[in-house]
């Protein structure tokens, strides 16, 4: 797992958006082999989407061959309701960029057969050869604590706390808030070839600590990434408040080694070593013998 720590929310969004942009460019997607991206909703990815729009407007990134799968959607809410996740994605991203409508996949909370809808969603992901990168936040959609870590896309009842928290978007009327949602499972997300998580804010600090420093536990669903071979967390300084100083220093030092000692150009996007450092960096025989501590 890679943990990247940045100063604040904006810096985190900038880093994550830039990372995903570079991944897409490196992948060089085509209509036959598109880049399959999993996307979240909520406050965490808003900065990332703003940056995506900026990259598109500066002609640095095109979404023409990007296929997206969204993590969740409310059940029973009209698709064009301002609080639906279709509306969220439209207003934050799809409206501004050149993604093709047929490449966008969002669960349909008004389907007649919800189970079939979830099954078809998983099938669709498989038909593209799986998700290349799944972007997520600390909740992993609606997989509340206690969700199975091998769960798949399914309909879930929302926790009462969640309903109360969401009522602020529905005129503070609890009766208007959706009570169920379709969500990808933890297992679905972990099936992606890469998982990238954004965790920001002091209120998430405890969750981050539990997920990184303690065991895999269904009470902290993000901890499932400990078993993923290619995971990335980008967080801000505030979110590290509950981590051991040792942990924070360790992950910061890795960045330091890569950038200053190995050279960022020698390391691939996903941490793989592209080139061994040039001979100038390794000391010559004579220089080795002249080191002060060597006799």
């Amino acid at each position: 797992m890679r943990l990247i720590i940045r100063k604040d929310y904006d810096a985190v969004s900038e880093h994550m958006a830039n990372y995903i942009k570079n991944r897409i460019i490196e992948f060089n997607p085509t209509p036959d082999k598109p880049f399959v991206l999993g996307l979240p909703t909520g406050s965490s990815p808003v900065g990332v989407y703003k940056n995506f729009v900026k990259y598109y407007q500066n002609e640095e990134l095109s979404f023409k061959n990007v296929v997206t799968f969204n993590m969740d959607e409310y059940v029973g809410l009209p698709r064009d309701h301002p609080e639906s996740y279709h509306s969220f994605m439209w207003h934050h991203l799809f409206k501004f960029v050149d993604i093709l409508p047929q490449n966008v996949h969002i669960l349909n909370g008004n389907a007649e057969n919800l189970e079939e809808e979830c099954r078809n969603f998983e099938e669709k992901m498989k038909s593209y050869g799986g998700v290349e990168l799944f972007l997520g936040d600390g909740h992993i959609a609606f997989n509340e604590p206690g969700s199975s870590l091998s769960s798949r896309t399914r309909a879930k009842t929302l926790a009462y706390d969640t309903i109360l928290a969401n009522s602020r978007f529905f005129d503070y009327n609890v009766n208007k808030v959706p009570r169920m949602a379709l969500t990808v499972g933890v297992g679905t997300v972990m099936d992606a070839r890469e998982v990238a998580i954004i965790i920001t804010g002091a209120h998430k600090a405890l969750a981050l600590a539990k997920c990184i420093e303690e065991g895999v536990n269904h009470m902290w669903t993000v901890s499932a990434i400990q078993l993923h071979s290619n995971a990335l967390i980008v967080c801000d300084e505030d979110a590290t408040l509950e981590l051991h100083v040792k942990t924070v220093k360790y992950f910061k030092s890795i960045e330091h080694v890569i950038n200053d000692l190995v050279g960022a150009e020698n390391v691939g996007l996903q941490g793989n070593v592209k080139r061994y450092p040039t001979p100038e960096v390794t000391p010559t025989r004579e220089a080795f013998y002249n080191l002060p501590f060597k006799k």
Binding site: K64, S87, W90, H91, F94, L100, P101
Partner: protein, 442 residues
């Protein structure tokens, strides 16, 4: 700036529109006047002359835009609606000159008004003889706006002849009438093809100005409303409003002055029950700017901007006629030659909006709504006009921050560049100027 940026260079995949297929246009980077505010991070989808719901286009039909128009930060407002305009560009709707004068005149005015951001209007007839109404009214048929004919004709506004004989403004006194037989006098005067109880749905008349104190008018208001005509009033008001009239024609002009113990019709802006809309001629000449501000502050949601323009609008100074009455245009004023009374205006709709904002100190949104949303609400057409909601007609105006017209779209299409004249000064218009035929380029 005047170039339309069309980005169909393959960034949106393969979209090869067939010649007949309706083109889906996406307008980006505009600041939309919607929901009583300026919204600056939204897009407009237009197809077939209508504004569409973008999410429907994207999620349901999966259609890609054929054309992307970059508004480059300009304000996007619904096209202006002028509910009182007696003529323009040398055309006088109240006068019968030769056979095709009205027909050609409507075309000329419809096209010319697009220059001033006005995309829908009600050709207005002042008090005239029955023969004129019978000849002219059938020609003023509602006609949808389109690129070949120009702005939309919503129907006719009949100002008179059932108005007060002591306050006739520039109308010919001989034409002013009472209605002793009630509604059937209206039928006879205007040549309505319906009985006293009938409701003729094919009415070309959309708005009537009457004076409720004239005999027979009060009782006719209900029947007029039943056949789909909005009633606007001058002179005594309270009873008329209670019976369903809901607009005051050119507030302050040709009506009893305000007196603190007898506020009269102007006092209708100070009642507790639902207040009527009121038209304001906003050239600073017909009404002093301070009066406009007072009216606006007392009832901001009721302000409707009108030009009350007569045929000299858009033409150089000189002698013209308003109906049967000879008038003289000098500067921005038009006066009856005989007695110097104000005889209509030569105000253009965009100048009206600019002046209104200047005089009242209102916000951009409020000034634009007075020219778009409020007239649409008055006429009951605010589902298709005066708004930028999906389902509305795609009559748009692109404005800069000084509320000058940069672009105008009628039914989703912009007239060819060369047909739009400069608007800085009416003196730029040569004699006998006539707008060119738009060549309908998409």
């Amino acid at each position: 700036m005047t170039d339309v940026m069309i980005l169909t260079d393959g960034r949106y995949g393969q979209t090869e529109p067939k010649v007949d297929a309706p083109r889906l246009k996406k307008i980006i980077n505009g600041r939309l006047i919607r929901d009583h505010e300026i919204i600056d991070n939204d897009v407009l989808y237009i197809c077939n002359g209508k504004i569409l719901n973008p999410q429907d286009c994207f999620f349901s039909s999966g259609k890609l835009p054929n054309e992307i128009i970059d508004a480059e930060g300009l304000l996007i407002a619904p096209g202006f609606i002028d509910i009182q305009i007696n003529g323009a560009f040398g055309v006088d709707f109240s006068e019968w000159r030769e056979e095709d004068h009205i027909k050609n005149g409507l075309d000329k005015v419809s096209k010319g008004l697009l220059n001033y951001g006005c995309t829908s209007f009600l050709p207005t007839l002042i008090s005239s003889k029955p023969e004129l109404y019978h000849k002219v009214l059938p020609l003023i048929k509602p006609r949808k706006g389109n690129i070949n004919q120009g702005a939309e004709i919503l129907g006719a506004h009949l100002e008179g002849p059932f108005i007060a004989s002591n306050q006739y403004g520039a109308h010919d006194l001989l034409n002013v009438r009472t209605a002793p037989n009630g509604f059937s006098d209206f039928v006879d005067m205007y040549g309505l093809s319906c009985s006293s109880e009938g409701n003729d749905e094919n009415q070309n008349i959309k708005l009537i100005t009457v004076a409720p104190d004239v005999e027979g008018v009060l009782d006719s208001i209900k029947q007029l409303i039943k056949i789909g005509i909005t009633v606007s009033i001058v002179a005594q008001a309270e009873e008329a409003i209670k019976r369903g009239a809901n607009c005051i024609t050119h507030l302050f002009n040709a009506m009893q002055q305000f007196h603190h113990r007898d506020p009269g019709i102007i006092g209708m802006l100070g009642t507790n029950y639902p207040r009527p809309y009121y038209g304001i001629i906003c050239d600073g000449i017909h009404v002093h700017p301070n009066s406009i501000k007072i009216a606006y502050d007392s009832h901001p949601r009721g302000a409707i901007l009108i030009t009350d323009a007569m045929e000299a609008m858009g033409l150089p100074p000189g002698d013209y006629t308003l109906g049967d009455v000879p008038v003289r245009k000098s500067g921005k004023k038009v006066e009856v030659i005989e007695n110097g009374k104000l005889a209509g205006s030569v105000l253009t709709m965009d100048e009206c909006v600019r002046n209104f904002k200047k005089f009242t100190g209102c916000s951009i949104v409020e000034a634009i709504e007075a020219a778009t949303l409020h007239p649409a609400e008055l006429l009951g057409i605010d589902n298709v006009k005066g708004t930028l909601y999906p389902g509305a007609d795609a009559d748009l105006v692109f404005l800069d921050d000084d509320l000058r017209i940069v672009k105008c779209f009628i039914a989703g299409i912009e007239p060819a560049e060369d047909a739009l004249q400069k608007r800085n000064s009416i003196w730029d218009i040569k004699n006998n100027w006539a707008p060119n035929n738009y060549d309908g380029g998409v």
